[in-house]
Every structure is written in structure tokens, then in C-alpha cells.
């Protein structure tokens, strides 16, 4: 056994980490080799120092401080877990994905429903306007009443259901709005209606709302207009049939005008 080989094994020899055979061989060698014996002694001293490498004497305060901090942290974690067990369950990986997918579907369906409803509403409004336009185009211009009121554009009108008109009449506050009555009445009555026909007296207040409620439905052949005068006992009912544009509106309207009185 040469010195180089022994020199490599001396650290393990001094710590008794070698097998018995090699330990015996080294022990024999260092008995005859002063240099290797000196190295073995130095290794022994260093190891003795290491064995005496003791920590300082920590006080009980240090240890109790460590224990208290550890126990406090454990309690905080336990409290956090107890306060939100449901949330903790929700945030498990699989359940988290399921909840997220459900929420996404709910939001998507809500948006789709909202957008679809808005589209329907817009479509309905557009249909209503188109219907009103068609109705206006199909009626004749209406004669102006014999008064000093400024002439306005001839209003458009069409036939309406007589029964629905009767039902829609409601007591309303009376206002003087002869000009309004002219234009509104013209919308609800037939092509030959005039403000004079609608009201026995142009100065009598006519309920514009009752007239306005009676929007004639398209493709009606009989037109009936009912108006309640200021006098609750007097009601004017006007009938009209749909005639061609060449006919004078005055002649037919005078024939179909009816005034009812409850007196």
C-alpha cells in the first residue's frame, strides 16, 4: 500500500468509515510511515474540533418564541380553512372548471336572449312604421274645416273597427283643441271626414284622445267615428263607407252623420 493511496483514505479512516480490511492495512502502513502518521494525526485533531463544534446555549425564551410563532401560524391556517370550506371546495381543480363553464354558458345565453329581444323590438317598431306609411298612402286628402285656422297638410286616415272604437272611448278631460281635433280626427275617420263633421261646433272641445285612440285598421270598408261633446248627453257618431277618390267627401259625410242625445 503506497502513501498516495493511504493519503486518499485517511479522512475515512479517522472517522471509522472504512471496511475492516482496508482499515487494518492503513493502520499497518502508518505504523511504518511517519509522514502518513502525521497526516492521520492532523485529521484526528480536526475531527475532534468538529466533534466539539457545539452551538451556543439558547435560552428557553428562544425556544418558546419559536413554538408560539409556529402554533399561531397553524391556528391562522386552520381558521382560514374553517371560514371558507365551501370556497375551498369550489376551487378544487375539477369543480373550478365546471363552475367556470357553467357561468360562461349562463352569460352567453343571457347575452343571446338580450340581443334577440332587442332585435325583435326593433323589427316590431319598423313593421309599425311601415304599416302606418302604407295606411297613410292609401287614404285621400281630407278637406279643411270652414274656419280661420291655418291650413295644415291633409291628414291621412283609414277605416277602423266600430266595436273597438266604442270600447276605446273613455271619459277624458275636455280641452279646447280644435286644430288638434282636426288633424287627429282626420287620422281616425274615413277619407271624407272633416273637422266640421266631427264636431257640431268647431269651438266645442273635443277629446283628442278618444279620437286618437281610434286608429282605423287597414282594409276596412265601413268607417265609424264617435265623438263625445262637452255635453255628456250628446255624442256624435259618424259613419262612412270607403269610396273612390273622385267622390266629394261632403256629400257622403252629411248623409251619414248622426247625432245622438241622451236628453
Amino acid at each position: 500500500m503506497n502513501c498516495n493511496y493511504v493519503k486518499d483514505l485517511l479522512p475515512l479512516y479517522v472517522g471509522r468509515d472504512l471496511d475492516e480490511e482496508r482499515a487494518t492495512a492503513i493502520a499497518t502502513h502508518i505504523q511504518t510511515c511517519e509522514r502518513c502518521a502525521g497526516s492521520a494525526e492532523e485529521y484526528g485533531e480536526a475531527r475532534n474540533l468538529l466533534l466539539q463544534y457545539a452551538p451556543p446555549a439558547f435560552s428557553e425564551g428562544v425556544y418558546s418564541g419559536i413554538r408560539q410563532r409556529v402554533l399561531r401560524e397553524i391556528e391562522e391556517k386552520q381558521a382560514a380553512t374553517m371560514l371558507s370550506p365551501f370556497l375551498a371546495v369550489l376551487f378544487r381543480p375539477r369543480i373550478k372548471w365546471a363552475v367556470a363553464t357553467t357561468l360562461l354558458l349562463a352569460v352567453s345565453i343571457s347575452i343571446f336572449y338580450f340581443v334577440a329581444n332587442r332585435t325583435d323590438d326593433r323589427q316590431q317598431v319598423a313593421d309599425g312604421r311601415a304599416t302606418a306609411d302604407r295606411t297613410a298612402e292609401s287614404t285621400e286628402p281630407i278637406e279643411r274645416p270652414e274656419s280661420d285656422e291655418p291650413k295644415t297638410n291633409p291628414p291621412k286616415a283609414s277605416t277602423e273597427d266600430p266595436i273597438s272604437r266604442i270600447k276605446s272611448i273613455r271619459p277624458r278631460p275636455r280641452i279646447k283643441a280644435t286644430a288638434l281635433a282636426t288633424s287627429v280626427a282626420a287620422k281616425t275617420v274615413g277619407p271624407r271626414s272633416t273637422a266640421a263633421d266631427v264636431s257640431t261646433n268647431a269651438n266645442d272641445p273635443v277629446d283628442p284622445e278618444s279620437v286618437a285612440a281610434r286608429v282605423p285598421a287597414p282594409q276596412e270598408k265601413i268607417l265609424r267615428v264617435e265623438m263625445q261633446t262637452k255635453d255628456p248627453n250628446i255624442r256624435i257618431i259618424w259613419f262612412s263607407t270607403q269610396r273612390s277618390k273622385r267622390d266629394a267627401p261632403n256629400k257622403s259625410s252629411k248623409r251619414n252623420l248622426e247625432v245622438r242625445s241622451n236628453a
Partner: protein, 225 residues
């Protein structure tokens, strides 16, 4: 550690058992305290009082080993706190047929390695072994030594602390477990999750470096004198 001491050697076996005196270590459980296995079982079920008993039983070992690996009290305190938190967290995985202290040493080595790595990111030093600057570094429990002896021990401790600071973490852990804690090479290999051959190599390298450092230091001081 515990040791057995015979005060008397009677002829009969029964008398021998009565004469047997067992010297227990300072932190040893007395007859009134439940055994460690039962404490571990209760602590794993969430009993913090039982876990506190476990901490009391092992705090000196943990603190001492952390101090030897990290080299200063502040890091050793942080390491001990983290070690016990991990012990509590993973106590459910501990099997009763395992050696508790070997398992504890493994956690200690891992935590000390993590703290040493974190320290390296903030500092260029391998380890801040400030045993020489520790206020209580020179207080040895129950010491009745003279001033000269105390000074000598202080210097020796400082020397070893500086030598340990030059070692990488794995070699430092291996030599502390083998030489200071007195564990066998196989036990150290299990704790460090290495082979026995690797552990022997690390121990051999660590001892060479410590010896070389001590030689140079003593030669330098001898020249100065």
C-alpha cells in the same frame, strides 16, 4: 443522548434489572408523558397541544443542527420555525414504522438548504457564519472551565465555523450528520437521499477541507506570533 450505567452487578437477572440505571437525555420523556408515537398520532389528527409536546421534545436537536449548518442564530431560528411548520403539515404522511428523527433531520437539511440558497441570492458569501459575533456564542451550558479554557474553546469554535463556511451545503450537511450527530453512513445516505458511496465521498472531501483550512490558519497564526 441516553447512556446506560450499571451501579451494581448482582448475580441474578432480576437483581440486575433492578440495579440498572438509565441516564436519560435532558429532553427525554418521563414516565408520566405519553410516548412519542401517540403524540404523533394525536398531532396528525389536529391536536396542537400534542404537537407542542413534539416540538418541546425535538427543539434542541433542530435548533442545534440548523445552527451548525447555517452558522448563525437568526437563520437557525427561521429554519427551526419553518421546519416545525413542515413537520405539522406533513405529519399525516409520516408512517409509524419510520424513524421520526431521521425524518426530522431530512426536513431540517432541506429547509437549511432552501434558506442558504435564499441567502446566497442576497449575498455573495457562501454562509454567514458569524459564530464569532454571536453574543451568546461563548456561553456553554453548565461550563465550569477557566477563562483560558473558555478562550481556547472560543477560538476553536470560531476556527471550525470558518472552515464549515467554505464547504458546499451537501458536504456540510453530510459531515454534521455523520460526525456531530453520530449517525451511520447508511443513515446519512437515507436522509440525504443519496447512496452510501456518495455520502462517503462527501464526508471525505469535507474532512479534507476542514483539515486543510485548520492547517493554514494555524500556520498563519504561528507566523504572526
Amino acid at each position: 443522548m441516553g447512556s446506560t450505567k450499571f451501579t451494581k452487578v448482582p448475580s441474578g437477572a432480576r437483581e440486575m434489572a433492578l440495579a440498572l440505571e438509565i441516564q436519560l437525555p435532558v429532553n427525554a420523556l418521563t414516565q408520566n408523558q405519553p410516548p412519542l408515537a401517540r403524540l404523533i398520532e394525536r398531532a396528525a389528527a389536529g391536536d396542537t397541544a400534542a404537537f407542542e409536546q413534539i416540538m418541546i421534545h425535538s427543539q434542541q436537536r433542530v435548533m442545534a443542527m440548523s445552527w451548525r449548518i447555517l452558522g448563525n442564530e437568526a437563520d437557525a431560528r427561521d429554519a427551526s420555525q419553518e421546519i416545525f411548520l413542515r413537520v405539522y403539515r406533513y405529519l399525516g404522511r409520516f408512517k409509524q414504522d419510520q424513524d421520526f428523527f431521521a425524518w426530522l433531520y431530512r426536513i431540517t437539511v432541506n429547509v437549511c438548504r432552501d434558506i442558504a440558497k435564499k441567502r446566497q441570492h442576497h449575498s455573495d458569501h457562501v454562509a454567514s457564519f458569524d459564530a464569532s459575533h454571536d453574543d451568546r456564542a461563548y456561553e456553554v451550558a453548565g461550563s465550569n472551565e477557566s477563562a483560558d479554557d473558555a478562550l481556547m474553546h472560543t477560538q476553536q469554535r470560531e476556527l471550525i465555523a470558518r472552515a464549515m463556511a467554505t464547504l458546499p451545503h451537501k458536504e456540510r450537511a453530510a459531515v454534521v450528520l455523520r460526525d456531530v450527530e453520530g449517525l451511520s453512513t447508511d443513515e446519512v445516505a437515507k436522509i440525504l437521499k443519496s447512496s452510501s458511496t456518495t455520502v462517503r465521498s462527501q464526508i471525505s472531501s469535507a474532512r479534507k477541507k476542514i483539515k486543510t483550512y485548520c492547517e493554514r490558519y494555524l500556520r498563519r497564526h504561528a507566523r504572526e506570533l
